[in-house]
Amino acid sequence: MAVRVVEHNVVVFRRLWRGYIMVSFFTPLFFLASMGLGLGSLVNRGSGGVGGVPYIDYLAPGLLAATTMQAAAFECMYPILAKILWDRIYDAMLATRLSVRDVIAGEVAWVALRMLMVATIFWVVMAAFGVAHTFESLLVIPAAALNGLAFATPIMAFTATQRNDNAFSTIFRFVITPLYLLGGAFFPISSLPGALQAVAWATPLAHGVELCRGLVLGDLVPAQAVLHLTVLLAYAIAGVVFVRPLLTKRLLK
């Protein structure tokens, strides 16, 4: 039955897809041109790239992970709260044969699909910049989507507890944006102060970035890949475990 929930999202998406696709295409295009090429030329001159690769090759896969994090966070804040509270779509859904479990499964599947879309468009832009040259680099698409899910389900659980949207901009400003800029996408985590390094590694993003980067640059160590995948899956599953009782309590009072 969860597929019906996905269908609902598809119908809504069909009205808005142009705007979404534009953002998913132009944002990586602008960032890779500005930071990757422009600023990258200074990095390459200053220290010969990062870890032996040109800066844009280093940046692009990290930025992909940071982008799915950002997109997933957004998807699981305002649209979900709208369906709980403002438009009461979930109440409408639960009046049919759908259960809370179907709703959650459908929403998670939808976010996964959206992240696959975002990552695919990003991969195309990356390839246009000559960064993703290998066939294996296509694996970065599901990896980045999983990174998105590791943020999506815990945030969904948080959203299930909210009475208004005030906390969302705070989370963006104090969690998502700091991770985006300092969490390993733009420069190595090892150049952060010691305490912050530990914080960075405790978040899913550091693992998502490393996984994506390893897949695109083709230097992924299997043991580390397993560690990164485990952390990402653990966050995604923990989120689902939390969201079930919280959303049930919220919707079936």
């Binding site: 705007g19 534009m22 953002v23 132009f26 944002t27 602008f30 960032f31 041109a33 500005s34 930071m35 422009g38 600023l39 030329s41 200074l42 990095v43 200053g46 220290s47 990062v50 800066y55 901009s169 705070t170 400003r173 104090f174 944006t177 700091p178 800029l181 300092l182 733009f186 420069f187 150049s191 952060l192």
Partner: protein, 261 residues
Amino acid sequence: MSVRTLRIPTRSVRMIERNAMAFRRNWMVIFSGFVEPVLYLLGIGFGIGSLVRTIPIGDGHTVSYAVFVAPALMASSAMNGAIYESTFNLFYKLRYARTFEAVISTPVGVEDATLGEVMWAIGRGSLYSVGFVIVMLALGLVASPWAILAVPASILVGFAFAALGAALTTFVRQWQDLDIIQLALQPMFLFSATFFPVTVYPPALRLLVEWTPLYRGIDLVRGLTTGGVGPGLLGDVAYLAVMGLIGVTIAALRLRSRLLK
């Protein structure tokens, strides 16, 4: 009086007062906008800066990358604060809250309200640039005593973009149109010599970038905080002042003919 002629605004301060009262419970939203440019400074200025090391500026001497980036972020935060206020919030007031209709039924006129809105937007942008320059001082990123003028320079940047935003907002018919403004701001933020000097560009592209307003603002603020002060900065000042005056005039004229039918 004809709908086409503008009155000299004398009661703009009432509009500012109104906005300040409306924001009394919401000041955290304004305040937290200050965090983002600081994060950019830490991430890009110091994080990537350690990979870039030094950067040559104008007259042959070099500065650290963080010194180079900081003034650009200061100008950008003035722009962002001002234009967000004069697009999204102004549109909401015009279209949904109908604040303008309420305001002009008092002795406060359309011109007062328009200039008041622009000044309020400048105020929000200036708050960010003043906060930012304090961070720059604390981190030792100010390289010249001219930097004292960086605050009025940022206010000028805020004025130019607040006025531009207000003028554009009078043409906006739905929220989606505002996304187009946002979509234009992002490349401007990324390509206006914010993160790398214009010398990186091929000549034709460089000329194009040098004619964009944020480039002018960044050139001005950077000249002042790094001490690269020359007559070129007066050109920046003139550009931004003219842009602001044109913007605020267009906004007042259009709002006048729209509200006083």
